[in-house]
Symmetry: C2
Subunit: 243 residues, 2 copies
Amino acid sequence: MGKLYVVGFGPGGYEHMTDKCIRVIREADVVTGYTTYVDMLKEYFPEKTYLATPMMQEIKRCRMAVEEAVKGQTVAMVSSGDSGIYGMAGIIYQVAEEMGAEIEIETVPGVTAASAAASVLGAPLMHDFAVISLSDLMTPLDLIMKRVDCAGQGDLIVCLYNPKSKKRTGYVEQAAKILMSYRKKETPVGIVRNAGRKDERAQITTLEHLKDAEIDMFSVVLIGNSQTYVSGNRMITPRGYEV
Amino acid sequence: MGKLYVVGFGPGGYEHMTDKCIRVIREADVVTGYTTYVDMLKEYFPEKTYLATPMMQEIKRCRMAVEEAVKGQTVAMVSSGDSGIYGMAGIIYQVAEEMGAEIEIETVPGVTAASAAASVLGAPLMHDFAVISLSDLMTPLDLIMKRVDCAGQGDLIVCLYNPKSKKRTGYVEQAAKILMSYRKKETPVGIVRNAGRKDERAQITTLEHLKDAEIDMFSVVLIGNSQTYVSGNRMITPRGYEV
């Protein structure tokens, strides 16, 4: 019986991979994943056998991975960040069940993009927060914006994943507008592009100016709560609320 | 000039530490942290010099760490999970500023408890979620429960940190009641105790029965959204919403 590991390798650099992630990739017969991720790993593990598929072919990739495991191979299905947060873990379980595959599946957690981005910005995630993806590929836009509104009501720090793509350019501004009905327009916002990778870049702006910030699909946006402040070039959310 | 690393070593086991976490601890002159965490690390790094303080003495611990760094030492200030999520990163920046300490501070992100717990349960965090601490030590209880309510309104998956302590025993039930006004009482709930540690234990129950579940301060509680289901012994939130 083969074994399928669903591995999150963290933001991208070798240093942020967990000991288990490194071991599982080293010992796997096959490493499979989205082409971009596979290319990132080839630098650190050049000797491995890779099976890559382009974006949007998640189901096909999962089937390939499960089939290899059924053949008795040890497979590492990789994705960046944590495989359990908007990752491949869910689809793998679903595909394996649908295929009636008798394989062992194990999820190897990793450092998610919110953690990586926060570590670059200072300490913005010291209090309750919401993680919301702005991708409306699988989620109605109304529901996404309702969630932003709820996070606003609850004074939750907001972490936006997939803030923009080539097609989706206005959602970040829409989210900022909603949050400004609950929070000051001066509320600090941190944007980190390629967090934890070689070409990492961070900027701190405000809710009001978020619409003018440079943001793309490799960025994560962290919006402070009512207590968040900037000191020096650090974005900090204090732990306590003044009661 | 000394350097102070604020290091999250993940859920606890060596295998979930990042490569950088391991390297920073190995190379530090002094490792400082809450006694329980230091005891966990002594098993893996027995040769280090440790400076431990009991719980509730966070400020004192931070001062000690900053003082060591001012002396020119390389200090690793450790905590479990991700140091940037309800961790020590914020207080360290605040204390260092207050002390006027000219030291370099770097946060090393780790695998947070939500990721560790999710990996044990299956794939519950495949969609938008809120992380909320039920500790009312520094946050008014009203605000905590308002946040739970907002998460309910927005159909966010809810991850509860610090669900119970010896003094706080009724808040989980209170949160479950609030969420049942938005979600079915059969909504799956996963509880993981000591996620990613040797004596890890997981159970899956429902919102209705959450009040009877065994939960303590070492547990994390993951409450599904309206789409979450249980298959076999796995808790899964599908990625897409049927539109």
